[in-house]
Symmetry: D3
Subunit: 288 residues, 6 copies
Amino acid sequence: MNWRLLLQGSVKFACMESSSNIGVLVGVPMDYTSTYKPGSRFAPDYIRNASCNIEFYSLSTGRIMESEGFIDLGNIILPPGDVGKSLSIIQSVAEGAWREYQGIPLGFLGGEHLITYPIVSGLIDGIDTLVVFDAHLDLRDEYLGSRLNHASFLRRLVEKGVRVIHIGSRAYSGEELEYLKTLENIKVYSVLDVLEKTVEAAELGRVYISIDMDVIDPSYAPGVGNPEPFGLTPLQLLGLLKKIVGSSSRLVGFDIVEVNPLVDVNDVTSILAGKLVFELAALARGGR
Amino acid sequence: MNWRLLLQGSVKFACMESSSNIGVLVGVPMDYTSTYKPGSRFAPDYIRNASCNIEFYSLSTGRIMESEGFIDLGNIILPPGDVGKSLSIIQSVAEGAWREYQGIPLGFLGGEHLITYPIVSGLIDGIDTLVVFDAHLDLRDEYLGSRLNHASFLRRLVEKGVRVIHIGSRAYSGEELEYLKTLENIKVYSVLDVLEKTVEAAELGRVYISIDMDVIDPSYAPGVGNPEPFGLTPLQLLGLLKKIVGSSSRLVGFDIVEVNPLVDVNDVTSILAGKLVFELAALARGGR
Amino acid sequence: MNWRLLLQGSVKFACMESSSNIGVLVGVPMDYTSTYKPGSRFAPDYIRNASCNIEFYSLSTGRIMESEGFIDLGNIILPPGDVGKSLSIIQSVAEGAWREYQGIPLGFLGGEHLITYPIVSGLIDGIDTLVVFDAHLDLRDEYLGSRLNHASFLRRLVEKGVRVIHIGSRAYSGEELEYLKTLENIKVYSVLDVLEKTVEAAELGRVYISIDMDVIDPSYAPGVGNPEPFGLTPLQLLGLLKKIVGSSSRLVGFDIVEVNPLVDVNDVTSILAGKLVFELAALARGGR
Amino acid sequence: MNWRLLLQGSVKFACMESSSNIGVLVGVPMDYTSTYKPGSRFAPDYIRNASCNIEFYSLSTGRIMESEGFIDLGNIILPPGDVGKSLSIIQSVAEGAWREYQGIPLGFLGGEHLITYPIVSGLIDGIDTLVVFDAHLDLRDEYLGSRLNHASFLRRLVEKGVRVIHIGSRAYSGEELEYLKTLENIKVYSVLDVLEKTVEAAELGRVYISIDMDVIDPSYAPGVGNPEPFGLTPLQLLGLLKKIVGSSSRLVGFDIVEVNPLVDVNDVTSILAGKLVFELAALARGGR
Amino acid sequence: MNWRLLLQGSVKFACMESSSNIGVLVGVPMDYTSTYKPGSRFAPDYIRNASCNIEFYSLSTGRIMESEGFIDLGNIILPPGDVGKSLSIIQSVAEGAWREYQGIPLGFLGGEHLITYPIVSGLIDGIDTLVVFDAHLDLRDEYLGSRLNHASFLRRLVEKGVRVIHIGSRAYSGEELEYLKTLENIKVYSVLDVLEKTVEAAELGRVYISIDMDVIDPSYAPGVGNPEPFGLTPLQLLGLLKKIVGSSSRLVGFDIVEVNPLVDVNDVTSILAGKLVFELAALARGGR
Amino acid sequence: MNWRLLLQGSVKFACMESSSNIGVLVGVPMDYTSTYKPGSRFAPDYIRNASCNIEFYSLSTGRIMESEGFIDLGNIILPPGDVGKSLSIIQSVAEGAWREYQGIPLGFLGGEHLITYPIVSGLIDGIDTLVVFDAHLDLRDEYLGSRLNHASFLRRLVEKGVRVIHIGSRAYSGEELEYLKTLENIKVYSVLDVLEKTVEAAELGRVYISIDMDVIDPSYAPGVGNPEPFGLTPLQLLGLLKKIVGSSSRLVGFDIVEVNPLVDVNDVTSILAGKLVFELAALARGGR
Ligand SMILES: [Mn+2]
Ligand SMILES: [Mn+2]
Ligand SMILES: [Mn+2]
Ligand SMILES: [Mn+2]
Ligand SMILES: [Mn+2]
Ligand SMILES: [Mn+2]
Ligand SMILES: [Mn+2]
Ligand SMILES: [Mn+2]
Ligand SMILES: [Mn+2]
Ligand SMILES: [Mn+2]
Ligand SMILES: [Mn+2]
Ligand SMILES: [Mn+2]
């Protein structure tokens, strides 16, 4: 089946038609494995709407992007409640978009964090380092009887041999900490590490960045599935993104997940997510 | 596996311990196949909390129920996002509770309407007539690529030969109306029929009642997944319930589904659902 | 102490200065004995604000009231959490206003239903019949260890010998129903009675009307402390008010209680309460 | 200037592309003259989104409309806060659409009620009767120093000689009632008239229907700019619409105004508005 | 026309009557040119109400202000939707208050940022430096066909020759950056400049301060029309205000704009705005 | 009366049964003396629910606590609106729990700050230092005619000779500052002191910690009764708690008060409160 048939139209990101293309966007409205408040299925369109009311300007690069734009492919059509089929469809779309838009960063708007599993699986040959920003490790083996969910997705990717840098964590299960000790291919910077140490980001190669918005403190990003206190500030995140993209040979793609617009205040979490899309595209382009 | 292990504790319905037992209650916090706003997973506990702030009185029977009570078994533990396994667990619990509590009405607090499928499947030998109250027929063959979801559950039960009386409908797809013409074992009273005709309820035998709260007008029950205008009033529903229970040989069980507390106002939909539990138990007991 | 010193200014009802005076208004922002969601303390000012955005027109009489107005005395100043002292202050203000504004209906904006106890106690010599609209009887002897609260206020008044007509009830405790059997001086019309029988209202003499807004169905008045399904419609209430005022020798005063603006939707309950103030004043004036 | 350049794209009504066309839709996101809570500017898109989650079925006609569709032209682009220029643009679009889509009903999604003024002005030669549903008369001469606003729009049209049937009113200023006595070309049915009398609808000719959603009771339509108690039920409105379209030679167009999604509950007012669009299109087509 | 007739009463700021006067306050409830969520018209009264629940204490000066007070003139009466007439009225009131209350700081509570245009125009002879705090430059030439709106107000003032210090910006259009290069009389400190450089504030002379609350990070001030991430903290703003007032010969006046209470959480943005009024008055008075 | 009879069950903290016990928890749902928005009565259960969705991990100690647990005694049953009786009951429970659970920290979940008065009164012989975190001093002599309320509780304790360290204040009445000058047994660190000085914490002995959640900035803890800008960050509070517990001979007990879940956003304030319970228990246990 043609991967484009798996998509449906929607308001375009930033309400703009693309000319000079700086990124390809796909919405992934999946939230079936959420264990607390569902609602991240609505995030892609809230982020798009929010992006229509902000300036085309990137703070991290100083770049004005009014003459540039995104190819927004719309949202993936998913069978409600069918996780297996959904993951397969997401992977097909990720692979299709990757083949078609060579050299342009692919941005995915979640949805829950589980979507990173099929996306990275689909792009796996093009990625040297997966950088994850998250308050949680998502390294459980299984959760409530399921091996494929938002709390175990990274374990599934680690098992596939993906090299990971994980930044911003501050909530762990004992099982995850035990498992972590057995791993060599993952580097974890807790939120305390970010405050106290330098995040080493050398020779990352081709990078894919996954941002679970709960890495940011709930004061800045209240509208997430599992708000976790003691988080990063947006400026700290921006500095780290700049460093990582700057240390990479290329930004292959990124996702922004776990925004839940139904529990947000004045759409500030969607606005911040939309802003990060602009910033990541500008950083990938280079600047300042 | 012992079916009791599939349950977890919770606040008790009406905040009371049972003595003279007039009903067994089970919460079924499943909402993965919701196609619009999810959140009915929270309904069982909201309904329980609401029931703690209302009088133990039934308007339809005039019965004071302070000296009677429910056995509240808590909520079924479900694997998030795994529909197949969830349905199997729900059916196990329904069967287990049915065997154990012979002669006492079983009440299920949804969750989405799909839960009626495994419940009725589990109790099928004990049911002569399934009475469904719903704004929708839920008779689609499949929906967004899935055959087991809230919009097709009744078709799956009709295919099993269950005899159905359906009351309150007012929104149809063409497919459903075509399918309906081929069926003999179902009687449909639209909301207009309820206003204009008499609902015939004779020789119902052992009855199971499934109430999709969207059968009630959104003015009275705004907190549902798919509010549909032009619905029944609570007093109309109460009159119909009284007639149906009165025409049955026995009320085997009932469910109240599709309450979504996250989009409600002042918990009025949860309160009304809690009230219906009292009324159904009182009606089953006989009265006035 | 001068009773006027117990009051503080506020936005005026209907945002108007009075000329021809058709009513005296007092806000009573007390909600300490609420057992569920507190917030009725904010009702007086929400009702006043709502009244500024509606026409000076009464549907029940057809009277335009633009050239008439209310004397709005503001809100009573109450010591937070001190029920005894608060009731004493409320009674002082009620007595003071009654002496000063002879012949003009006194309207009190609650606040919880307990405020009716000191008000009616203060005006007791001037009242022949107390007409209460309420989903509940409020006839408990005590509640959670307290004899003076919103659930027992009417018992305290009945014990003082006040003659009562109670309309709209639909939720009872066993204790209340037992107590009711022992009483002669109270006539109770349940919500079913209102639908099926005629409310007899003859020789009421001087009437005080207390409206617990939960007498109205929660679809019309969701913003109340204890929403109770199966209630009156606003038009039914309006018809009953017209009948009662018409059957009285005089409307001495009225209160509107239990509005909780913090759990309302789009202020519809405050607007309806404000509308009732207009209607009661117009009915007292006579009309159509 | 080409009138199509005054429009911008948006989610399509009912999320469908038209084939057999039964109506042309235009969003008019104007709310600058609102005197209470603004927000009706967001209504066109909320109504469209709501319409994507309801069945393509009309209760008043029994018509399934899945094979039919609307031409949705998107929203008119308006200069924020510039009333004069905005009215001129709206009239241009109304005239342009009317010339281009001869014989197809034009539906306008407001926005505030003032938009009816430029729309009807633009279509005036094609309209024999303007039928207005509204809790208010909107017949003030001026309001807070302005002659063109939501509270005076109908006076401006009456001054142009438009023949009007007005249904559902229940809140009047003295000025409006005085003015009404001087008019011959308007027939007013108050909400009490609707309950007690027959609405005479003969020889209406070509009809334009304007529905201020506050004509409906706030229990069913809480999300409006000025909720007014004692309103119509949706079924009463549906019956009246059926009668009026049935008595007309043709439904030229209609608007649905004053929905304010920012103060709604669970989008029920937007859903009801979307439903009315389906019903009006089905009625215009004839049915049952 | 007497400028005082253009005002209407309201709850007084801090619920206090003034004795020793430290500021004159005027509410300006205008939000017609808002391009996203309107609602700042409600800010003056929300800020006043919030100010009644906070201590009369200024953190920046250590000053207790219980024995001091404000003259609160109430809100300006504006014709809804008529921008031109509204600006003229605002300027009249600003001029009138300035003439009457010589030597006392004038504080204006918006409303949208456009109100700064008529205010500063009215006071222009008494101002040497306009200090603007804003996430945005508001230097567009026109916006959606209008030259007088919240996004262009500062350009209109710059064109009049006003000397400007602009602090806290972080979102620019290309047009604004181009225009900025042509200007000499404006000094811009972006939010990054505030973090990295010293804001030079020497020889400011008589200063007017305009605070668009979106200069503060949305985590602290979520209730604004256009939340913009990466903003100032309240303590950073307080430090800058102290520096600027300390470097001025006098604080002529100030405004606080773009608070939108309808999208706030627990009124924290209104509370912070009220706090800033206290702080500015205390700073003008001198302290610590 | 047996103090255990004064308690009622509830969801257990962290949804866990205790094994190795690290703390005893009691809910104190009292909010009758709230002068602004009531609702802290609901905090104990919101905090418990929030605690069920966070990891059993303490950031300040690095301790995993999955194998440890709390004894959660449920909520104290209080007579609504009866302050005197309520305080007496709370003190009884505090004394009873203290006698029974020697050596285990007692944690109290408020409710309003007044609850600290009976708790500390009950434990007074076991406490050497009371450490209070609060934006306010709560040292008024009386407030609105009452001597026992949330704004005067600390004065009542100081009068009993309790030694106090007060941290985080930033809003004072003149009366409080005057009174403070007369005291020797209290050390006050304002929020500015925390930023600029070292908090001296030596020889504290047996410590009781009372945390009014408004000590934290409203951006992190919006859901409180009286949000006060310019507050501590959660990380600053965590550092101070670590220092204080580390400087004590023992943590006797603690309370977390003034959370108001009814005005929170996405339960972030309840989550943070729940997190602090974990952190305090882990700190009491020692760690890192
Ligand atoms: Mn994650
Ligand atoms: Mn996470
Ligand atoms: Mn259904
Ligand atoms: Mn349904
Ligand atoms: Mn009552
Ligand atoms: Mn009641
Ligand atoms: Mn209108
Ligand atoms: Mn209207
Ligand atoms: Mn601005
Ligand atoms: Mn701005
Ligand atoms: Mn305190
Ligand atoms: Mn405090």
